[in-house]
C-alpha cells in the first residue's frame, strides 16, 4: 500500500503537475545531474510536494492578514481566557471534558472511516464509542484505550476527499479556526452536519457558546505551545501554512 502511494506521489510529481512545475522538477533533475555527483545525498528526500514553490497560495495577502487577526484573537482573548480557566478547573476535569467532546464527535470519524473503506477502523471507533460512553462515564474517560488498547482513528471529510484524490486547492486561513485549504474548509460543512450539536435543537447562540467552551478547554490543555511554535518561525505565516499542509498530507496518507 505504501509503495503504491509512493508510486502515485511520484507520478503526480512528475506527470500530473502543471507545465511550469514539471519544468521546475526537470530543471532540478538536470542541475543535479550536472553539479551534484555524490555531494547531496539528502536532496531527493527533501524536494517534494510541500516545497513552497508548489503550495498554491493565490490568496496570500488575505491569508497573511487573517493570520494576523487570528494571532491577535489568540494572544489577547483566547489564551488569557484559557489560562484563567486552567487555574480554576483542575487538569483531570479539563482532560475529561476534552475526552467527552471527542467522544460525541464519533459519527464524523465513523462515517469517514467507512467512506474510506477502513471498515476495521470504523468498527474500532464504534467499540470505542460504546465503551467510553458507558464504562467511560459519558466519554469523560478514555476507558477503551486504557483497558482494551483501542486506538483512535481520526478521519474527517477533508481526508476522505484526499483519499479519493481531491487536491487541496488554494490555502485559506479561516477566521478564528486558522489554517485550512479549499478542500478542507468545504469539508467542514458535511462533518458539521454529523455532529450532535447540529442535530440537537440548540439555538445558534447556544451552539456558539458550546463551541467557544470547546476551544477554551482545548487551549487550556495546550498552553505555551502556540508561542513556542511562533518562536521557531522566521516568517510566521508561511511557516504555519507549511505545518498545516505537511500535516494534512500525512493524515491523508495514513
Amino acid at each position: 500500500m505504501k509503495l503504491f502511494l509512493f508510486f502515485i506521489f511520484i507520478t503526480t510529481v512528475l506527470f500530473g503537475s502543471t507545465p511550469s512545475n514539471n519544468q521546475h522538477v526537470k530543471n532540478i533533475n538536470q542541475k543535479n545531474l550536472i553539479q551534484d555527483d555524490f555531494d547531496d545525498e539528502f536532496d531527493d528526500e527533501f524536494i517534494d510536494e510541500t516545497d513552497e514553490t508548489t503550495i498554491y497560495d493565490p490568496l496570500i495577502k488575505y491569508n497573511r492578514a487573517m493570520t494576523q487577526f487570528n494571532d491577535f484573537v489568540f494572544i489577547y482573548i483566547l489564551n488569557p481566557t484559557a489560562k484563567g480557566y486552567s487555574y480554576v478547573v483542575p487538569k483531570a476535569l479539563r482532560k475529561g471534558i476534552s475526552n467527552a467532546f471527542h467522544n460525541i464527535a464519533f459519527p464524523i470519524r465513523f462515517v469517514n472511516n467507512v467512506l474510506q473503506l477502513k471498515f476495521q477502523n470504523a468498527g474500532e471507533e464504534t467499540s470505542r464509542f460504546l465503551i467510553n460512553s458507558t464504562f467511560g462515564v459519558f466519554g469523560l474517560f478514555d476507558a477503551a484505550y486504557y483497558t482494551f488498547k483501542l486506538d483512535e482513528h481520526n478521519e474527517d471529510f477533508g481526508q476522505t476527499l484526499g483519499f479519493y484524490g481531491v487536491k487541496s486547492g488554494p490555502h485559506i486561513v479561516l477566521p478564528f479556526l486558522g489554517p485550512s485549504n479549499l478542500r478542507d474548509a468545504f469539508s467542514l460543512v458535511p462533518d458539521n452536519m454529523l455532529t450532535l450539536v447540529y442535530n440537537s435543537n440548540l439555538t445558534y447562540e447556544e451552539s456558539l457558546y458550546l463551541n467557544t467552551f470547546y476551544y477554551v478547554n482545548k487551549t487550556s490543555l495546550h498552553l505555551g505551545e502556540y508561542e513556542s511554535i511562533k518562536k521557531d518561525a522566521i516568517d510566521f505565516y508561511p511557516f504555519i501554512r507549511d505545518l498545516y499542509e505537511q500535516k494534512r498530507i500525512k493524515e491523508i496518507e495514513e
Binding site: D40, F42, F46, T50, S98, D151, D242, K250
Partner: protein, 200 residues
C-alpha cells in the same frame, strides 16, 4: 551528615560518568531502539525531577543527545541548494547559529513537558543507509507520532539523526522551506542576522 553529602556527590559523579560513557559510544544499527529508549527514559526522568534546575537539566539533556544529532548535516539540509554557494566561513557561521537555534527550540519544547510518556514503536530500515525510529508521545489530549530519521554517516559509519518528524511535519523541511523563501528576496547575511535576533 558531611559524609552523607560526599557519598551523595560521588554517586552523582558516578551516574554522570556512566551517562557520558554510554554516550561517547556511537549507536550501532542493532542498538538504535535500545539506546534511544534509554536516552529518552533518562530525559523524561530528568525532566520529572523537581530538585534540579531547568537549566542544568537542559545541559544534561544535550550531553545525552549531542552525540546522536548530526547538526552539520541538518545545516546542509536546511539550506538546500544554497549551501553549495557558500564559502567555508559562511558555512561555519551558519552551522553554529542554526545549531543554537535548533537547541533553543528544543529546550523551549522541553519547557512545556508535563507528564507525557514516550513509547518506541518500531525501527524500520528504509534504505541501506537510512533508518526510521517510530515513537509515540502520549500527550494530555492526544497521541503524537514522532519519527527520528537516522542516516549512516560516511565519516565513521555512525548512525546519526538528521531529521525529526512530528505528526507528519518534518522539522528540516519546515526550515528548508522557510530559508528558501527568505533567501528568494533577501541575502544570506540577512538570514544570519535574522537568526541572530531569533536566538537571543
Amino acid at each position: 551528615m558531611i559524609q552523607h553529602s560526599i557519598s551523595k556527590n560521588i554517586f552523582k559523579i558516578l551516574v554522570l560518568l556512566s551517562i557520558l560513557a554510554v554516550n561517547a559510544q556511537a549507536i550501532n544499527e542493532s542498538d538504535i531502539a535500545k539506546q534511544m529508549q534509554s536516552k529518552i527514559d533518562e530525559t523524561t526522568n530528568l525532566l520529572k525531577n523537581k530538585d534540579i534546575a531547568f537549566k542544568d537539566k537542559t545541559t544534561q539533556i544535550f550531553e545525552t543527545f549531542d552525540s546522536v544529532f548530526d547538526y552539520s548535516s541538518m545545516s546542509r539540509i536546511a539550506l538546500g541548494k544554497q549551501w553549495r554557494k557558500l564559502s567555508t566561513k559562511q558555512k561555519k557561521s551558519f552551522e553554529k547559529i542554526f545549531t543554537l537555534k535548533l537547541k533553543q527550540s528544543y529546550v523551549d519544547k522541553l519547557n512545556l513537558y508535563t507528564d507525557e510518556k514516550v513509547k518506541i514503536e518500531k525501527v524500520e530500515k528504509i534504505k541501506r543507509n537510512r533508518i526510521k525510529l517510530y515513537t509515540k508521545l502520549i500527550g494530555q489530549e492526544e497521541i503524537y507520532d514522532i519519527v527520528y530519521k537516522f542516516h549512516k554517516s560516511k565519516k565513521n559509519n555512525d548512525w546519526l539523526i538528521y531529521d525529526v518528524e512530528m505528526i507528519g511535519v518534518s522539522i528540516m523541511k519546515t526550515y528548508r522551506n522557510q530559508f528558501k523563501e527568505f533567501l528568494s528576496t533577501k541575502t544570506f547575511d540577512n538570514l544570519l542576522a535574522k537568526l541572530k535576533t531569533k536566538t537571543q
